[in-house]
């Protein structure tokens, strides 16, 4: 518990963690720079300084932000749909064996059907602009589903019995017992799925090349052998992913704290 007097040190601590994180990132950048110099083949590996310069340049263009926004929007919709659907399906599956059994082959297929086969079927229904949305959904859904289902099945049966006896059911039970017990699983699921969806979504954009998307720029950079651009966009992709993950983690942490501190 934080006492008033501890505030100062807490802030210090936070500063120090941030410093540590930056130091780690810096460490890898240095490794990269040396790697690039050692290999010395600019068409394949560009050093971080050049990449950052290019990225800074890109960041001043409206197209950069528009592309990030469009990609983020579409993939985000797919991802959120997957989180909601995955959680809901896991909840259903945990209650009804028939749902679980019916979903098992579907989830198995989602996990294993290669994009190469899947794209054909998806493009039959949706335009290639929305391919990334569907792919992000398909990628995240089994991750969220499996994690949440395992979390539910690992929920302390003793607490559930307690709820049975006191007649705590439905939403109250979710709120008071499952929320806390499933949360660690949910948290891993969301952070993992976020990264996977984002990456797969971009890959889908590289296939479908809808206008004003990160995937299109990545493709262009690649076919035009513009390695600095390729790396700059890649760095942007990683940065967005890391930022999103940090955001999601922080928001979930805050919500949890709030929820726990209720009188």
């Amino acid at each position: 518990m934080a006492r008033a007097g501890e505030r100062g040190t807490e802030k210090d601590g936070r500063l120090r963690t941030w410093a540590a994180r930056l130091a780690c990132v810096a460490f890898w950048l240095v490794v990269w720079e040396f790697g690039a110099r050692a290999i010395d083949a600019r068409i394949i590996l560009v050093g971080p300084l050049e990449v950052l310069a290019r990225l800074a340049e890109l960041a001043t263009t409206g197209e950069f932000w528009a592309s990030v926004g469009v990609s983020l929007g579409r993939i985000g919709v797919g991802f959120l749909a997957a989180v909601v659907a995955g959680t809901a399906l896991a909840a259903l599956a945990s209650r009804a064996t028939v749902v679980r059994e019916l979903l098992a082959p579907v989830m198995g297929a989602m996990k294993a059907v290669p994009v190469a086969s899947f794209v054909i079927l998806v493009l039959l229904w949706v335009s290639s602009s929305y391919l990334s949305m569907v792919i992000a959904l398909v990628m995240a859904l089994p991750v969220v589903y499996a994690n949440v289902l395992e979390g539910i099945s690992q929920t302390d049966p003793k607490l559930l019995e307690m709820c049975d006896v006191f007649g705590v059911r439905g939403w109250d039970r979710v709120r008071l017992v499952y929320a806390s017990e499933v949360l660690p699983y949910f948290r891993v699921a969301v952070t993992l799925a976020l990264g996977l969806s984002w990456k797969a979504g971009i890959a889908a954009e590289v296939i479908g090349l809808p206008d004003f998307t990160i995937g299109e720029h990545l493709y262009d950079a690649k076919v035009y052998l513009d390695t600095p651009d390729l790396f700059a966009w890649t760095v942007a992709i990683v940065a967005v992913s890391v930022a999103l993950e940090a955001l999601v983690k922080r928001v979930m942490g805050r919500l949890m704290e709030r929820w726990e501190a209720r009188p």
Partner: protein, 321 residues
């Protein structure tokens, strides 16, 4: 280099005769097969062509065109030559080819100056993309006709993307060359001016034609859905007429056409300007088309029947021949 046949004037008269405009939905793949269409597209966008209701869509992946044809979402599509034959076979005659729109666009490139003839490829590794399609069969055909055996005399390493071939070329340790298509050759040269075009595969193909073999290397064709062609022959002919005009324009006004290619986001204008003359954009229809294409497909089928969808297409495949 446009081999337009004599039916052009006839085609131009017909649409005026039955003035019922038809919706003609066209799909093209990003790349040389779409380049010949740019003038046509810009004329339509400018409202200069009102005889039919034309719409165009440029797609990045062949994956997108196949379902569109199956769903009857497009009427005319510009596709790779062997895909056209495959589509014909797989849809049981559901498509017909109306024109050859691109001849060979493949080039052997190297970093250095060691390759002057096909024979010089002996003992080298060729990085190539386009396995299972024109590049594979074209390369194989030319090599074999020159007495080189793939796997023994030359090694081919297949990559899924052109860019990877260039990267492989840049980092290769032994003697290596890459087979690249236009307009990618131009793109690669813009990035690395040491890349030199050593051989034009289209020429090499023509060089090994002997006797009654009269095939030529063909990259892209335009197909029409058979049902559409049966219902609206006039619209197809009108389309072909505009198409031929467009191709003529592109070949004669390279600078303007390059600008249009850039505007339609096919490749940047500066790349297009250099690449257009190398892309062998044509509009060959009728008997001429049948002769050249059937010869080419026969060569392909000879190497791998799967490449043309199982068998050489029948005569009904060739529209207007």
């Amino acid at each position: 280099a446009c081999g337009t046949t004599a039916q052009e004037p006839a085609a131009e008269e017909e649409p005026a005769a039955d003035a019922e405009p038809v919706a003609v939905r066209t799909a093209a793949l990003k790349g040389p097969t779409a380049m010949g269409l740019v003038r046509f597209m810009s004329e339509v966008d400018a409202g200069n062509l009102a005889d039919n209701d034309y719409t165009f869509e440029i797609y990045a992946a062949p994956d997108e065109i196949t379902p569109l044809i199956a769903k009857e979402g497009v009427d005319i599509a510009a596709v790779p030559a062997n895909l056209a034959a495959t589509l014909y076979n797989k849809t049981e005659g559901g498509v017909r080819v109306i024109a050859i729109n691109t001849l060979g666009v493949l080039y052997i490139c190297e970093l250095g100056d060691t390759v002057r003839s096909v024979e010089d490829l002996r003992g080298k590794t060729i990085y190539a993309s386009g396995k299972g399609s024109t590049p594979e069969y074209g390369l194989q055909y030319v090599l074999e006709k020159n007495g080189l055996t793939v796997g023994e005399d030359v090694t081919i390493e297949w990559k899924s993307e052109h860019a990877e071939c260039v990267q492989a070329l840049a980092t290769a340790e032994g003697e290596a060359v890459a087979m690249l298509p236009q307009p990618f050759v131009t793109t690669a040269q813009a990035q690395n001016d040491k890349i030199r075009v050593a051989l034009d595969l289209t020429e090499e193909w023509d060089r090994v034609q002997t006797g009654d073999e009269t095939s030529s290397m063909i990259t892209g064709v335009a197909v029409v859905r058979s049902a559409f062609a049966d219902e609206n022959p006039a619209a197809v002919d009108a389309f072909l007429a505009h198409y031929a005009e467009s191709v003529d324009f592109v070949n004669e006004n390279v600078a303007d056409a390059a600008q249009l290619v850039g505007d339609y986001d096919i490749v940047p204008a500066h790349v297009a300007e250099k690449a257009l003359p190398e892309c062998n954009i044509v509009c060959v229809t009728g008997e001429d088309m049948k002769e050249r294409l059937s010869g080419y497909l026969a060569v392909l089928a000879d190497q791998n029947a799967e490449a043309v969808g199982g068998a050489v297409p029948g005569d009904d495949f060739y529209y207007g021949a």
